[in-house]
Homo-oligomer: 212 residues x 2
DNA sequence: GAAAAACTGTGACTTGAGTCATTTTCGTAA
DNA sequence: TTACGAAAATGACTCAAGTCACAGTTTTTC
């Protein structure tokens, strides 16, 4: 038997969900809340396995509630209820520890499926939500096309070490060079990349993922 | 009429795909290739709208081919053919510009759907593939839970500017402080975070996404 | 085989960065 | 009310970093 907490401010939607969920005899809604704060209170009173959480709510929204619940009860699964327009929230929700997404327009069959897949440790994400989220996630991890970095292999190696926060002395030791040579290379690198000092170079290295 | 290039080394799979695709009268496979290199050659000879690309192939794999095709023909759509075990490649493929993923086990209805959604500019990603990829993507953009960064607001502001590569003088100007004060704060910050110099601090700032 | 680019090194010089001691002000929590 | 941490500042000191000029060696490229 899976014990579920329903968090959703609109009573009608909540009722509908409850009925759909309890069509499956292994699933039971043993608590309901109208906003995040109430959800936290219910969590303390009941043994909850899974929370179904709306994002837009008064008092405390779903993101904050998700974060706080995951802090105190890391093993509880959380499914986010979402609409097509919530995609910027969705990414944040995932970072906060959500285990999946339900479109409000989903039919009950998908709903039940999502609950079980999420309880099994998987991640339940509706196809359309994923399609919207992925490009957003990629933007951040992309901006480094590794193209046209006009550095020689030696310069790259030094850039990498600068990006790890090493001093010239340490770099010299690792590469078996003199400190003076390292300095010369760095002068060269800064000129090529139009940077001012090793700090800007380190930032460059991290952002362009020069870590090989 | 949508012109399609099929890239897949196994002739049987290729034949099957072709038949499934051409069930739809708007879709036509006008070229086929057994590996990435051949695909590039075919691209030059035909006007292609969409490429369906396997990942594991001899001579030149699907990732490299995707990258090269997107470089020369940025408007061509590319759908990656994948299995459940390819998820580490999948992320890379997306970064290289792929427009979607097809599971090799998908039925023809899903296949056709994916092609159209991809041509409309959307991203076609099978639910199960997305579920596997998202956690992987999140790991990279996550590691900064913004928690326990024991810095005061002032220190945070300075850390942020260091992370932008600013000098103490510039930071002092922005925050209306003396250079000495900035130095003092930085000494304090370095001690708190157990770092050695502003370069390591800048790296810390970038990695923890302190950019507010 | 010659030219170009990459790699290595030295020494001298300038300056930004970081540490330390010490002081003052301000708000807030015990 | 007191005590404390955050914030701001000054001055003096040390040193790593960066620039510059010059030079030798090796590797790549045409």
């Amino acid at each position: 038997m899976i014990h579920i907490l329903l968090v959703e401010d609109q009573a009608l939607v909540r009722q509908g969900l409850k009925m759909m969920i309890e069509q499956d005899e292994q699933l039971q809604v043993i608590a309901e809340a109208e906003h995040g704060l109430e959800a936290l209170q219910k969590m303390e009173k009941h043994m909850i396995d899974l929370v179904i959480m709306d994002i837009r709510m008064p008092v405390m929204n779903g993101l904050e509630a998700t974060r706080k619940i995951k802090e105190q009860w890391p093993n509880v699964k959380i499914l986010i209820l979402t609409t097509f327009n919530d995609d910027e929230y969705a990414v944040q929700a995932l970072k906060d520890g959500a285990n999946g997404f339900l479109l409000k327009t989903a039919e009950q069959q998908k709903l039940i499926q999502a609950i079980y897949s999420c309880m099994r440790g998987g991640m339940a994400i509706h196809e359309d939500v994923a399609a919207k989220m992925l490009p957003r996630l990629l933007e951040k991890s992309k901006q480094a096309p590794t193209t046209n970095i006009p550095l020689t292999p030696r310069e790259l190696a030094i850039t990498k070490l600068v990006g790890e926060g090493k001093t010239n002395k340490e770099i010299a030791a690792v590469l078996h060079l003199s400190v003076g040579t390292v300095k010369n290379h760095i002068t060269q690198i800064l000129q090529k990349l139009d940077l001012r000092d090793r700090t800007q170079l380190a930032i460059y290295a991290v952002k362009h993922d020069i870590t090989s």
